[in-house]
Amino acid sequence: MLIMLTNILFKNSFWLLLVLALTAGCVAETKKKASTGRPHVSGLAEPEEFFGNFSGEHLRVSRSGSYNVETLWALAQCECDPVLYKSFMERTANGKGVLPQILMPSVREEIKSNTALQTLQKIPLGGLLADFFASDEKLAGRIREGLAEKLTRAPGGSSLASRLDIRFDGFTPVAGRAPSFSVMDQIPRWMAVFSADGLWTGAETVDGSDHGLQTLELFRSLSEWTYMIGLDENTDGGFYGGLTLRADGAGAVMNGPIDPRKGSDSKWFVSGAYTLKYDEKNARDLATSVKETWSHNNEPVTLDEQARLWHVAARAFGRLRPENRKSVATLFAGGEEALLPADSHTLPLAFLASIDTLLPEAFIDRDVRLIRASASFDGKSSTPASLLALSRLVRALTSWSQELKTADQAGLNAETLRKVRGAPEELLPAIQLAVQTILANHVAPAVHYNGSYGLALVDNGKAVKIAEASEVLLALTEVEAQLLDSEFLRGRIQQIFDWYGGDLLQSGADISERELLWIKTAARAAERYAGDRAQVWVKDAGKYADELLQRGSL
């Protein structure tokens, strides 16, 4: 109709084209308004203007490139991007991991103990039937059914298995490729499981449906840790997995399974990348007879990696402690049939052994008060840790310190309690050293770095960017709020927030999704320091970041 009318009114094709163009513009504008139907935060300027991006383009959050460790690590701290969280977790839930689900110990033992299969195998030619009943597809289906059954006992129940083709593979790589996985790759997912409030507090679900996704990843994470440490006994008298390492000369070598419950003083840790090898067979034979082997890449053990791992473990301990299980009670109910054993919270405690192994000598040179970037088993390295690694160490040790202060309320046995009771006091000097090192080597007047306000955070001679600054501020605010009561430290933090809000966020550069996530985290941290001009700017920045994240699309 519109085109016919146009033909009547305008005989000149030029005018026709002009009208069509104008009409198309109106339609586009209408669509634009429809897509931003979510109301702005009242009284605030456009986010683009706030962040200094005057390109005039609609600032969209691009998800491409989001599946990298740093963005996912930011996601795990923020809990403010449900779209990305759901996308990430679903990717793992149905993704293929380095350790096929058929080799996960719980699955293997289940298959091994299946009496029908055992009977069939013993009957002559029954092996063919056994193969039929235990074909790869059937086993995969059986595993999915088993998971689905377990997930019905997730808090509030879950229909995840009906929505997603879930798997129970271990060590799904983020950026790596099978048959190798790196510990660093897994850390953001583990952190996401334990940091998102949804499952643990009965708050909103992470995927808008139910707690099945988070519950499944909880099972997977605990299974992976169990496998890495080598706690699962197999029916042949050995242990599944065991990817621990020990120091050997200047490097690290594979150490095999460790059972911390047996009071061993063994010095072990997990780190770096592991490569799996096994003979390719059908699923049934893989489950029942294959002995997989792992090799380690022998890369330096970095403080960055270990600090994040220790932080995840502390978070896990906090979530799994008996007194914090109200919202996940169904996972522990059922006695012998419980989905998770009552002492599940002791599993993260195993990682304290790696703190004991690596922190006092390998990472910290006490004589010169140096925190190293990588573990030095021969004491020769003097490369200092980066600002981010230091801040991650602060957060990790602060978390453990806070959790273990109330260890006697965590239902631990006497022996375990005896071992961990002194940990907060032992960790305190390392925390103080890390904070002192940050203040000594990474904080400088902003005017020295083209800034105007307060104190800038610097690394390698340059002021750091938004993401790094946010994470450091989070670390400093956490340690100040929870552990180190210090008027001096509060003053420094406020001055750093002055620079963060007054200079860094106003720099006019484009802002990435990772940075938006961190801005939200920093804004939450800044609430403790209300009243200062920069904190007001930081809070506003948090609101704008939230809006932009909501605007983003897959």
Binding site: L428, P429, Q432, T437, L439, A440, L455, D485, S486, F488
Partner: protein, 447 residues
């Protein structure tokens, strides 16, 4: 603090008693001289800026953050300052922890008493060349006391740091909060120094030997120009500072010194004179034991004792003088300036050698006055039985840099004796007649 009293005593001029008579002794005639020099109570000196400061000012020290950081307050407090500075990004801020830290102020009270006696000897080798020799005997005592005062805010700094401060730092701040003179004194003793409250010593100073020659020329009626040349050698026999003592005083230079002095004097009407003189001394390298500081530390520990090589700077002295004589009395006034160029220290041990030579360059303007009473003429006329010269002198520094307040009063008496080498009066007259010149005996004036 080792240069608490840089009080090198140069006991010279003990031959000056005969400066109004013949500059040289006739052949075979000897002279002996005894003197007493009193420096009195020394309480101040000149610093490197030429300001008069008390001797105790070298103890004066503010125990503030910057002083502690520079090492001037000791190794422990430097470490404390280093750790506090880290919290400020190794960049001290005006109102930051380090610049606000203040533990108090130390000051000192130092008094020194010095007296010297000297013995001089001269002998006329021939009529125009005289040999002389002298040595002082010095007694000195130094009394010192330390005081500590002012507010100490170490506990406030510790409170501000709160839980951020680790245990050792808290303990360091606790110890810093109770710094007092007893602690400082103990630190000094712990560093291996001997108790410093009182020190006294008596002993020889440096021996000086030399030659003197003079010649005169008539410029006209009643005018005569006299030139005196005197090479000297100082032998380091005097006591020198010890590395384990803080407040001792050197009696000698510690090194050999070869000097040359030249004086020009215009004598007017046989009674008045005006003159200028100058001397240069080349000082020779020596080795001695010192505590070598590291960085800016003021109290090097005992294990920092080492043998160092000292290349001393040279000495120069110039002065102008005027005087008169009438019958038995003569008087003179001299004003001059002297300078010692800076010393250089070197050695095998690593350390701050510049600190050893700091303030070694000295400068002083001074004035001297002398009144003499001589019986030499009366003895010649056989109206007095004993020839002697009694002198009263005073020396007063006017301005100085890195030098002590060498104000002293001196009394000396000199007398003569003849040896078989000496000529009789008759032989002297014969010689004069042959030379066509009128010359009196050794006790006649040079006019």
């Amino acid at each position: 603090m080792k240069t608490l009293i840089h009080f090198y005593l140069v006991v010279t001029g003990f031959f000056s008693g005969v400066s109004f008579a013949q500059e040289t002794l006739p052949r075979g005639i000897g002279l002996y001289q005894l003197g007493q020099r009193t420096y009195g109570l020394q309480v101040d000196s000149w610093n490197a800026d030429g300001e008069k400061v008390s001797l105790g000012s070298r103890f004066d020290r503010s125990f503030d953050g910057q002083s502690m950081l520079s090492g001037k307050a000791g190794a422990d407090l430097k470490r404390l300052a280093d750790e506090l500075l880290k919290y400020e990004g190794n960049n001290p801020q005006a109102a930051g922890l380090l610049n606000r830290l203040h533990l108090g102020r130390m000051s000192g009270d130092v008094k020194a008493n010095v007296n010297a006696r000297f013995v001089g000897f001269g002998f006329g080798i021939n009529d125009s060349l005289t040999f002389f020799f002298g040595v002082p005997w010095i007694s000195a005592s130094v009394q010192s006391a330390l005081y500590f005062s002012g507010e100490n805010n170490a506990q406030a700094i510790k409170k501000e740091l709160g839980d951020l401060a680790y245990d050792e730092l808290k303990q360091g701040l606790d110890r810093a909060s109770v710094v007092n003179e007893q602690q400082i004194r103990q630190n000094i003793l712990d560093a291996g120094f001997a108790p410093f409250e009182k020190w006294e010593h008596s002993g020889y100073g440096d021996v000086r030997i030399g030659l003197k020659t003079s010649f005169a020329s008539r410029l006209g009626s009643g005018l005569k120009l006299v030139t005196v040349v005197s090479p000297t050698l100082e032998i380091p026999t005097g006591y020198t500072e010890k590395p384990d003592l803080l407040t001792d005083v050197s009696f000698g230079k510690g090194y050999y010194s070869l000097g040359l002095a030249v004086e020009e004097r215009l004598v007017i009407a046989r009674s008045f004179w005006i003159g200028v003189d100058g001397s240069v001394a080349e000082n020779f390298t020596t080795t001695l034991e010192k505590r070598l500081p590291e960085g800016n530390e003021n109290l090097p520990a005992a294990d920092r004792k080492t043998t160092v090589k000292l290349a001393p700077g040279d000495d120069v002295d110039t002065a102008g003088s005027l005087g008169f004589s009438f019958r038995w009395i003569s008087a003179a006034y001299r004003i001059g300036l002297k300078r010692h160029f800076g010393d250089t220290y070197t050695g095998a041990m690593d350390g701050n050698y510049e600190a050893l030579s700091a303030n070694s360059a000295t400068y002083q303007q001074y004035q001297q006055a002398k009144l003499s009473f001589s019986t030499a003429d009366a003895y010649k006329k056989r109206s007095f039985p004993i020839p002697f010269i009694l002198s009263l002198g005073a020396n007063q520094p006017i301005v100085g840099k890195n030098s002590s307040d060498e104000t002293y009063y001196e009394i000396s008496i000199a007398s003569f004796f003849a040896t078989p080498m000496a000529r009789s009066d008759r032989q002297v007259k014969d010689k004069k007649r042959k030379a066509g010149k009128k010359r009196g005996s050794f006790l006649t004036k040079t006019n």
